[in-house]
């Protein structure tokens, strides 16, 4: 996307949107509700027109190409399954439209791949939320599109099912090497889904790239079944703990979960680190900083109106407990 300007009734004007999503990679469009994420997806798919700028897909400009002629699959937030068609017919539908051969073989293959072969004769109204999700994914993948768009497609599921479907989805799109752009408002979902995070806020692209901070833990002490105390340098971090064991641990957290200040917390506070700002970069709303904590670099951001109050050589970084994640080197998530 290059210098896109989009006018939308619901979120106003999106402008100066430029970013590149590499072929075969998963990009995550992250932002709060009303930021313009769905509008951007709608513009890419051709549902709404672009005022200015260009959209390219595999080197070919598609800015003015009609919606029917872009080779894009779009999984809507409500999944948009055809309720009057069975699971099989839903998945076969795009193949019939594209007049492809061996439709039966292709449909059965994808049904097996996403593990819904037993549901092939059912209608969407008779499926659970997770099953519908799998059908939508199968329908989107069956034509092997050049780009797959997902608009908060996991949002309607409960926590456990969301985690499961997300993992299954990632497995399948990796296998298909599909270029995918996923919309979410959940930073943790964004982190799990892709390493190319595109942030959007009030119709503007804020920042691109992965901004997950990672600190190596020197020792870990279990406090309760669910909480552990992680030591890092001379600092102590309270982090969520779960079953599983590892030789080495890391604590991970996102930029959003940091509070940066030059004022010492009034009472001794856990999850507070101390360091100095070594670099900074400003955008329309925030100043993005890199902070050196005794040799470990973490990334954070400060609202621009607070920037002049910060003593760059001595800052306190407070990490939200809920924002932390403990990860083991051997077995991944705990």
């Amino acid at each position: 996307m290059e210098g896109l300007k989009i006018k939308s009734v619901s979120v106003g004007i999106l402008e100066n949107i430029s970013c590149i999503l590499e072929k075969g990679k998963v990009g995550v469009l992250l932002g709060p509700n009303g930021a313009g994420k769905t509008t951007l997806l709608n513009a890419i798919s051709g549902i709404i027109p672009v005022k200015n700028g260009h959209i390219y897909l595999n080197g070919k400009e598609i800015t003015t190409v009609p919606i029917e002629e872009r080779d894009i699959s779009y999984i809507f937030q409500n999944l948009a399954l055809f309720p009057h068609l069975t699971v099989y017919e839903n998945i076969a539908f795009p193949l019939h439209i594209k007049k492809e051969e061996n439709i039966d073989k292709k449909v059965l293959r994808i049904l097996k791949k996403v593990d819904i072969l037993a549901l092939k004769d059912r209608y969407p109204l008779k499926l659970s939320g997770g099953e519908k999700q799998k059908v939508a994914i199968a329908r989107a993948l069956v034509t092997n599109p050049e780009l797959l768009l997902l608009d908060e497609a996991f949002a309607s599921l409960d926590f456990e099912m969301r985690k499961f479907i997300r993992a299954e989805f990632l497995k399948v799109i990796k296998e298909f090497s599909l270029t995918t752009l996923i919309v979410t408002h959940d930073p943790y979902e964004a982190e799990e889904l892709g390493n190319n995070i595109i942030k959007i806020r009030q119709g503007k692209l804020v920042h691109t790239g992965n901004d997950v901070n990672r600190i190596k833990v020197s020792s870990l002490k279990k406090v309760t079944k669910d909480i552990a105390l992680a030591e890092f340098d001379n600092f102590s971090l309270i982090v969520p703990f779960g079953p599983g064991k590892s030789d080495h641990y890391y604590v991970e957290f996102l930029e959003e979960d940091l509070y940066i200040s030059s004022l010492r917390p009034p009472v001794p506070t856990l999850n507070t680190l101390r360091g100095k700002i070594i670099s900074h970069k400003e955008d329309a709303e925030r100043v993005h900083v890199k902070i050196d904590i005794n040799g470990t670099i973490i990334k954070g951001n400060i609202p621009w109106y607070m920037w002049h109050e910060i003593d760059k050589d001595d800052v306190y970084v407070i990490i939200k407990y809920r924002g932390t994640k403990l990860k083991g080197v051997n077995d991944g998530n705990l």
Binding site: S45, G46, I72, S73, Y74, F82, T86, P124
Partner: protein
């Protein structure tokens, strides 16, 4: 079996009461004939009745089919195209509440004593509920379903045939069920006033000859036709809308 018997029992009871009341010495047979004499009358006028049922059904079917097909076609157009909707829906909304029977006198002036009167009256009665329900059905379709089909490359005609029309069907059937009984009633009234054939004509003949047995035979025939029509439409609806069951 038990449930069927239970539902038949009130009907048997009703016919029994009818028979008893019709045979009361105080009730003249020419005003209120017993049920058994109506059955005997049916066998006497069987040929005449079937011939006139055919005339009525032919007119109802023709008006109903033309009204339904044009109602669905124009309803789809108005549902898809906002300009067509703005042009047609206000007019339809004004004409729809006018009872179709009300059109018969003016149709008689325009077309005289001819088949056109009941057929056009039935057309008016069929067209508007189907048209308005089709428009509503198309408008009620979730837009993301339409966009999903479009992103798959679905051409417009295929989109209408494979997605829009099937998804508007539940609303279309609401209109069809509303109009089917009404179409028969309108047809019969038009025949009573404007045509010397059909069930409406037989009713008027029964009235002029004070032949209440004939009138009851025709009324029972109309009831059975309405029941069969309603049953057929419901069966077709269940068949076409299996996905909703």
């Amino acid at each position: 079996m038990g449930r069927k018997l239970n539902s038949l029992l009130p009907i048997v009871l009703f016919l029994l009461i009818w028979e008893i009341v019709g045979r009361l010495p105080t009730v003249p047979t020419y005003l209120f004939p017993p049920f058994s004499s109506v059955v005997v009358k049916f066998f006497t006028v069987k040929g005449l009745l079937l011939e006139n049922i055919f005339f009525t059904l032919f007119r109802v079917a023709l008006g109903f089919v033309i009204g339904t097909v044009s109602g669905i076609t124009l309803g789809l157009l108005a549902g898809i195209n906002e300009k067509a909707n703005q042009l047609m829906t206000p007019i339809a909304s004004i004409i729809y509440p006018i009872p179709s029977i009300g059109w018969i006198p003016v149709l008689m002036i325009w077309f005289g004593i001819s088949n056109s009167v009941p057929i056009i009256a039935i057309f008016i009665c069929s067209f508007f509920p189907v048209f308005l329900n089709t428009v509503r059905g198309v408008k009620d379709i979730d837009q993301s379903i339409i966009y999903a089909a479009k992103t798959m490359g679905t051409p417009k005609t295929c989109l209408i045939r494979k997605i829009i029309l099937p998804l508007a069907l539940p609303n279309i059937f609401t209109g069809l069920k509303l109009e089917s009984g009404m179409a028969i009633r309108t047809g019969v009234v038009a025949e009573m006033l404007a045509i010397p054939s059909g069930l409406g004509y037989l009713l008027m003949k029964g009235e002029s000859l004070i032949d209440t047995q004939l009138i009851f035979v025709v009324l029972i025939a109309m009831g059975i036709i309405s029941l069969v029509t309603d049953y057929t439409i419901r069966k077709v609806e269940v068949k076409l809308l299996t996905w909703k069951a």
